[in-house]
């Protein structure tokens, strides 16, 4: 029946057995643009004979059309799989490729070099055991090299192979290689990267990638591929204490109740005493069910279903842990955050945090500092912009079981998700708890004026513009409003004319009505500052007492009186609305400055002389004061 003889069949079975048992190394390639990352991967795939004839034919076709290597094959086109990437000759997103040798299987993630795609590089690095950092021998370490090495260290990749590429272009000079190696070892030391191996290569020609080369006889080490084959797998002998983040409660019928998930650490076995967190209830493991039935033991990385000796309340997001060595439970952490979206991180705003199988509300309550990824310098920061790394304080809506990221990527890593857009806006690594979860409740964070202001990342203010009709109040207030808005502040402009068309349309211009006019506007402005806004009030507000009454409604420092000081003659000359002419003609009784008084402010926070400076300059002064 079969075309295969029995011994051939057995040989294949042996081969398959051997092949199936190969270990797996996941690594990334990173480095600056044009350092040759994609070319290196293409070279590895080619030399390990992972390219099929039809793929090679397509590659040759593409090389002629889009390639940068003349008539030679441009290996970069193998991994730059998106149309936009081939057109622009850059890598936008991570490409995953697969190859194997007799010893090992490899998953390689080719990471983009451009700063704007740092989040995609982090995507690749998060699952890597090792990183190849490529450096162009002609250029040495560049900003991108430092940035990528920092991200690699941040995400806990402990092994780096420094591949100094394009050695052919520096005459295979050992001095160049030695200098770059020394520079990189210094950087790695600062970043806490434990293992660094260095190899000089030419990815284009293949020297020291998969084969030794006479061109660099001075190099006594292993080829890049040998280094990959011999790299240690991440703590292969250190499984830690048992942790199972519960992913799915398996309840097909009344007789079976199991807790499914992937073991994040340790070994699970029947009889083991476990604790469910955060509840703290204890019980024992009854059965460990693997993917093919009951197991005597299961280890980190395996997908299992546990049944327990007692029925205790456990749901998705809880963690089952070795009761002898339980993880800490906390709701406030110090953590590093890599911000990955255009809109800046604002302290106080609420996001969702997902860690293991748990999703909880979170506020970044403080940014202690941000890190200059080029120099590792700590810088003061009020917000985090795209691609910035900050050391932050997180306050969670509920306590979670956690581990320090350095000890456990699963219980120590997290992402932040925007509640409105649902975008993944950040990734982070937990360092330690700032306080154990005990008596702290989310409710203690009352939604008060401070909380509302904090969520906007601004200090509420009432900017009160007073001055004669035609003095330039509205012109300046409008400019200030636009500038603040452009800087990301939440503002609102209350203008005398507009309010009189709506809220105050029942009021005239008698002294009583003027007082009531100001009282209402002041109250509205107070409500708005309560809500966290920066409110601009542009009203003649001629009476000192009413302005003082308004000031009294606000906390110390929040009310900013701005006197727009323009002499009556100048206002009357400008007379943009023709009101002075009508007042002089007796058609507008009680007109301020003509037949009604204007009481000049005695101690305004700011006095703006419109005859001395242009509106733009005056507006800039107001903005400076408002956001100081």
């Amino acid at each position: 029946m079969s075309a295969l003889a029995e011994d051939t069949r057995r040989q294949i079975a042996d081969y398959l057995h051997q092949h199936e048992r190969k270990s797996l190394l996941r690594f990334i390639t990173c480095g600056s643009v044009d350092d040759g990352k994609s070319t290196l991967i293409g070279r590895l795939l080619h030399d390990c004979q992972q390219l099929f004839d039809d793929q090679l034919a397509a590659l040759e076709r593409d090389s002629r059309r889009h390639g940068t290597q003349g008539d030679n094959i441009d290996f970069a086109l193998l991994v730059d799989g998106l149309a936009a990437e081939r057109e622009q000759g850059i890598t936008i997103d991570v490409a995953y490729r697969y190859f194997s040798t007799a010893q090992r299987k490899f998953i390689v993630a080719d990471c983009p070099g451009h700063e704007q795609y740092t989040r995609n590089m982090a995507t690749g690095a998060s699952t890597a055991d090792l990183a190849i950092v490529l450096v162009d021998a002609r250029k040495g370490l560049l900003t991108q090299t430092r940035r990528h090495s920092y991200i690699v260290a941040l995400l806990g990749v402990r092994q780096v192979i420094l591949a100094v590429n394009k050695m052919d272009l520096v005459g295979y000079d050992q001095g160049v290689f030695d200098a770059i190696e020394a520079d990189y070892r210094e950087l790695a030391g600062k970043l806490g990267i434990e293992k660094v191996r260095c190899v000089p290569i030419s990815a284009r020609d293949g020297d020291w990638v998969t084969r030794a080369s006479d061109a660099m006889g001075w190099y006594r080490g292993l080829t890049l591929l040998q280094l990959l084959e011999q790299a240690e797998l991440d703590h292969a002998d250190d499984l830690g204490a048992m942790r199972l983040p519960v992913q799915w409660v398996n309840r097909p019928d009344a007789d079976f109740r199991g807790y499914s998930g992937t073991l994040a650490a340790g070994i699970a076995e029947p009889g083991m005493e476990v604790v469910a967190l955060p509840s703290g209830r204890r019980t024992r493991i009854a059965r460990v069910i693997g993917t093919s039935g009951d197991l005597p033991q299961a280890q980190r990385g395996q997908a299992v279903t546990l049944t327990l000796a007692d029925e205790i309340d456990i749901s998705r997001g809880d963690v089952l842990a070795d009761a002898r060595h339980p993880p800490e439970v906390a709701d406030q952490f110090a953590a590093h955050i890599l911000w990955m979206t255009e809109e800046a991180l604002l302290p106080g705003r609420q996001y969702w945090l997902k860690s293991a199988t748990r999703t909880v509300g979170v506020q970044v309550s403080d940014i202690k500092h941000k890190v200059d990824v080029n120099t590792q310098e700590h810088l003061a920061a009020r917000r985090l912009q795209l691609n910035e790394v900050g050391y932050c304080k997180l306050t969670l809506a509920a306590p979670i079981a956690f581990e320090c990221y350095a000890d456990d990527r699963t219980l120590g890593g997290f992402i932040l998700v925007d509640r409105q857009t649902h975008a993944t806006v950040a990734c982070g690594t937990l360092s330690f708890a700032l306080r154990r979860a005990s008596n702290i409740h989310w409710h203690t964070l009352a939604v008060d004026r401070h909380a509302r202001a904090r969520i906007k990342g601004q200090t509420p203010r009432c900017l009160w513009f007073t001055g004669l009709s035609g003095s330039g109040k509205s012109t300046i207030a409008n400019l200030v409003d636009r500038r603040l808005h452009a800087q990301g502040f939440h503002t609102y402009l209350l203008d005398g004319d507009n309010i009189r068309h709506g809220l105050n349309k029942d009021l005239g211009f008698t002294p009583e009505d003027r007082v009531e006019n100001i009282r209402r506007v002041a109250e509205v402005a107070r409500l708005m500052t309560d809500a966290g806004l920066i409110v601009l009030v542009s009203f003649i507000s001629p009476y000192r007492s009413e302005r003082d009454m308004a000031r009294a409604l606000f906390p110390e420092g929040e009310f900013v009186e701005i006197f727009v000081d323009t002499p009556l003659e100048v206002c009357e000359q400008r007379d943009t609305k023709g009101l002075y002419a009508r007042a002089r003609a007796g058609q507008l009784p009680n007109f301020t400055g003509i037949d009604a008084p204007y009481e000049v402010p005695e101690a305004p926070e700011l006095r703006l002389d419109t005859t001395a400076q242009a509106p733009e300059e005056l507006a800039a002064r107001v903005v400076a004061l408002a956001v100081e």
Partner: protein, 340 residues
């Protein structure tokens, strides 16, 4: 000291912001990790890790989405997918239904296999056919591969997903299949209209998948992302998974067209003048619509032989797919429009 037993609730007067300054004093360092015990388990193999990774994806989809579905195409990858789906929720039944988008041009053997599933495994299998396309008589024979695939696969898939209001669709795509697939996330976000934006994918860290979508948006989840064609066969071999006989060599009636061997599966395939079906010993590396799927000449009639043959192979599996022979970016374009 167990700090979790103590709570004074509302009486708490400590501001959550006050102890940042003295973080060192209150810092709680996790204890040192426990070393692997002396009775060491053998390390997980490559295959074990791929299996666990896939099962993790299935459970995450089931737990996080309201209306998940699994796209089932009857091929070998779907067989592996189905096997993993059942394992992920054993001893329970999978909480995710299967959806087959039927172009009406599949091999007869495929349809018979599909129709046997509900009875054998107690699965919920749904079938969708684009009725508009059927009425218009769209076929790969008269309209060509591109139009047929667009109407009967891509448009049909979108119809079925919309009708079922599915917010997550699991598929068997692998990153080693094609260049734009190599770029895709495990949880791949689709905007309204099922569009994929390859230049602006959600970052995907570790195995922490962002499953949040607005109504109308959805996610395609790919548990087999990191599997290669060889892994699929090794797993089929290890787990003794049932796959269609079409994957194994047998005498079949074929005609040769543009270098491809097309099997004459039924009377709908019009023969060109002078074309006579010949019995050749062939098998298929990949299965789709029969007029669009090229066979290869082969003697491999067992899983072992198929694997042995694959280790010698010099062409990739998609080479047999007529639809892929457009310019290089065509898969990316189709995917952007909603193709799986």
């Amino acid at each position: 000291m167990d700090t979790r037993t103590h709570s004074d609730g509302w009486a708490s007067s400590r501001s959550p912001y006050e102890d940042w300054a003295d973080e060192a004093a209150v810092a709680v360092r996790p204890r040192a990790a426990v070393r692997r015990p002396m009775t060491a388990l053998p390390p997980l193999t490559h295959m074990d890790r791929l299996e666990a990774e896939a099962i993790h994806v299935f459970r995450e989809v089931a737990a996080e989405f309201q209306r998940p579905v699994m796209l089932y195409s009857i091929g070998k990858d779907s067989s592996v997918l189905l096997h993993l789906l059942r394992k992920a929720f054993a001893p329970g039944k999978p909480p995710i239904p299967l959806l087959h988008v039927d172009t009406t041009w599949k091999f007869r053997e495929m349809i018979a296999f599909r129709d046997s599933l509900p009875e054998r495994y107690g699965l919920d299998v749904r079938v969708h056919i684009n009725q508009d396309g059927l009425r218009q008589g769209i076929s790969p024979v008269t309209h060509g591969a591109t139009v047929h695939t667009d109407v009967m696969k891509t448009q049909a898939l979108k119809q079925a997903l919309d009708a079922g209001r599915f917010d997550a669709a699991i598929g068997g795509a692998r990153r080693d299949e094609e260049k734009s697939r190599a770029k895709e996330r495990v949880f791949s976000f689709r905007s309204e209209g099922h569009r994929w934006d390859p230049k602006n994918q959600r970052p995907e860290l570790w195995n922490l998948y962002n499953t949040h979508v607005h109504p109308g948006e959805s996610v395609r989840a790919f548990p087999l992302s990191n599997w290669t064609e060889l892994d699929i066969w090794l797993y089929i071999y290890r787990e003794n998974i049932e796959v269609l006989p079409l994957y194994f060599a047998a005498e079949r009636p074929v005609v040769e067209r543009d270098g491809a061997l097309i099997m004459v599966d039924d009377e709908r395939l019009p023969l060109k003048p002078g074309e006579v079906p010949q019995m050749r010993r062939v098998r298929f590396r990949t299965l789709g619509c029969y007029p669009l799927t090229g066979a290869i000449e082969s003697d491999a009639d067992s899983i072992e032989a198929v694997i042995a043959e694959m280790l010698q192979a010099r062409t990739s599996e998609r080479q047999g797919r007529v639809i892929d022979h457009d310019p290089s970016a065509s898969m990316e374009k189709k995917k952007q429009e909603g193709y799986f």
